[in-house]
Amino acid sequence: MMQDQSNTNYYDAIVVGSGISGGWATKILAEGGMKTLMLERGRMLRHGEYPTAGLDPWDMPNRGVLTPEQNQEYNKQTRTGWISFDNKDMFVKDVNNPYDEDKRFDWIRGYQVGGRSITWGRQTYRLSDLDFEANAKEGIGVDWPIRYKDLAPWYDYVEKYVGISGQAMGLPHLPDGQFLPPMELNCVEQHTKEIIESTFDSRYLTIGRVTNLTQQHNGRGPCQYRNRCIRGCPYSGYFSSLSSTIPDAEKSGNLTIRANSVVLSVIYDESTGKASGVRIVDAETKETHEFFAKVIFLNASAIGSTSILMNSISDRFPNGMGNDSDQLGRNLMDHHYRVGAMGFIDGFEDKYYKGRRPNGIYIPRFRNLDEATKRDDYLRGFGYQGGAGRAGFDQSAYTDGYGAEYKEQLMKPGPWSMSLVGFGEMLPDPSNRVYLNHDKKDPYGMPTVTFDCEFKDNELAMRKDMKTSAAEMLEAAGFRDVREYDDLGAPGLGIHEMGTARMGHDPKTSVLNKWNQVHGAENVFVTDGAAMTSSACQNPSLTYMALTARAAHYALDQVKKKNL
């Protein structure tokens, strides 16, 4: 391999990936004085470059519905059911980015500067010691090497910068954070909250905790209630790397962003026992380059970072970097969802709302918290998202008739309905895994990945409860025609894939230590979802941010002390 020796290939730090976690690593390292190179496989994208942000349905070809050719290009991303003209360019074309499935796995990705921080749902919840202690208490997987107290200051730290609107509740298992004023519940949600809280022990309903800004924050926002966040926000109304961490990192003068740079592997130096840099392919020229640094952060998202480690083969690491334990690629988790109930409610016909609130409700976990809430049929728990709303013209599907009267009716606010959508914890299981297929390379010469992962008995047992508990709450609140549903789909669909390079105390059973350093190559940090030792049931990205902030500060400190 040709080695490019020009000075520009030497940095203090390299960050692989520019999404939620990579943006954070970059900001902290660059602001900490490190000359930092951010490598991103996707195209360059700058804040404000959101061509579909202002389009109404009538502005889009075919009202936004994709053509069969486009559907073919996005044939796995479209399993979500909502890829359309307005958001497709923020997701990968599967034809160019193939992967295989021993069992169905929906790998939903965004390859561009900003990653999936542009398209994410922005729900942000802390984990607690109920989560960090669960593996050890139950003898599942391995113990987390950290506890809530280790992460709490870093949750504070990132929340203050990000800006999260939400309601403090004082629940030990869903710790409060640094909140901006909460968004409001509409009247049906408020009614449902009151009934649930007065009828059921340990059950609460609150407005979602979300990175949409209810007031100006660090020069961003506020949110204008358009609910078009997935296209990118010209108002900087929510948190993305593009709107915040990346531009702030650039202000330090220490950041170089190199887009179209597909990282293939981390280079291991046998003489120092550390990584020396990374190897990339330029996606446009197809040329190979090497870049060198003291510290390397892998933030290519769980599967991305894991596959880079797997493809980093050396005499020291014949099975992939950090893989002495054979756990690299194993314990793949997601959240299982699309299970719950919905119903209609009468009595609020004279009430309506204005604005498209980009947020819903949250019902925090209420199972297996303590002896009183313990279940015999499954471990761990779930939370619900969802919300209430009034139908607009889409009431056509359940409105009888045709003609002038029918037309008039469709123009009036329709029935109120509410949905509860469970998000459940998935247990780590070494047989749920992803592995490299060295016989099939992607267009950049990187071995493709194959998924072999499924939901198991604990998840399936939990779903029964997720379904009936949702229906039970809606019925208690007076909803009619309550319907339960359970649409299992496949892992990946929750878009919370994680766990494939887990943190642990012991190099024999884990890939990362308590500072997210790769066992055996301690100047390599992995701080995205790959690090997760268990999945909890909360949306995970806030935890990736806190882990990243903690590890990046640790790295700065270690560099200062000349330990790295």
């Binding site: 349905p57 519905v65 509409n186 204008q224 204005k354 919300g387 599907a397 649409d487």
Partner: protein, 198 residues
């Protein structure tokens, strides 16, 4: 909520346009008016006449424009060409033909050739046979079996296309592209209309 909102729009489209069976149907206005003043690309002329009649019957002109004035039939003609595979389109048109035939069986003529009374008789029949759909959540279908008849499915697509025309979206329904805030609960009057953007 992003997912849910996006789904709400897509579901209307997909429920009927992307699945093997899709949109539409037929018929045109009453007996006298049996000419088509636009050249269909994907419908046959006869299918187009029936589609136009059906559009007009479901969303007629009132004090606001109807589906026909806003060019919905032409849009549907182009839409099925753009968003369906050839096989899906063929299946869809077959369903449309079957629907046209139902009218012939019932009234002795195609919908576009029916007079007002015949049209009403047939569409009342179709309406009575149509089953209500349950709204889906975030891409998960609440009801697996497809309970809508062609008339019902056509209605869903037509309504969605009609209310997402620029005229309906900006002038017929209250249009609020940048709400700027959230009023969680206000009391409406009998004249309050639903928002154009969902």
């Amino acid at each position: 909520m992003e997912r849910r909102e996006a789904m709400k729009n897509m579901a209307l489209a997909m429920g009927y346009t992307l699945s093997a069976s899709t949109l539409a149907s037929l018929m045109t206005s009453c007996g006298e008016q049996v000419t088509l003043d636009w050249p269909p690309k994907n419908f046959s002329k006869e299918q187009a006449l029936n589609v136009e009649t059906l559009c007009d019957a479901i969303i007629p002109k009132t004090d606001t424009p109807g589906a026909k004035e806003l060019g919905v039939p032409q849009f549907l003609d182009s839409f099925i060409g753009e968003v369906m595979t050839e096989a899906d389109r063929a299946a869809y048109l077959k369903e449309l033909d079957a629907f046209i035939q139902l009218c012939v069986d019932s009234q002795g003529k195609q919908l576009y050739a029916c007079d007002e009374a015949e049209k009403k008789a047939f569409l009342d029949e179709q309406n009575a046979q149509n089953k209500m759909k349950y709204p889906g959540i975030w891409g998960a279908d609440m009801v697996k079996a497809d309970m809508r008849n062609f008339f019902g499915k056509f209605k869903d697509t037509l309504v969605w296309v009609f209310f997402t025309t620029k005229v309906a979206g900006e002038e017929i329904l209250p249009y609020d592209p940048v709400p700027g805030g959230y009023d969680a609960c206000f009391t409406i009057t009998p004249d309050t209309k639903s928002w154009s953007l969902g």
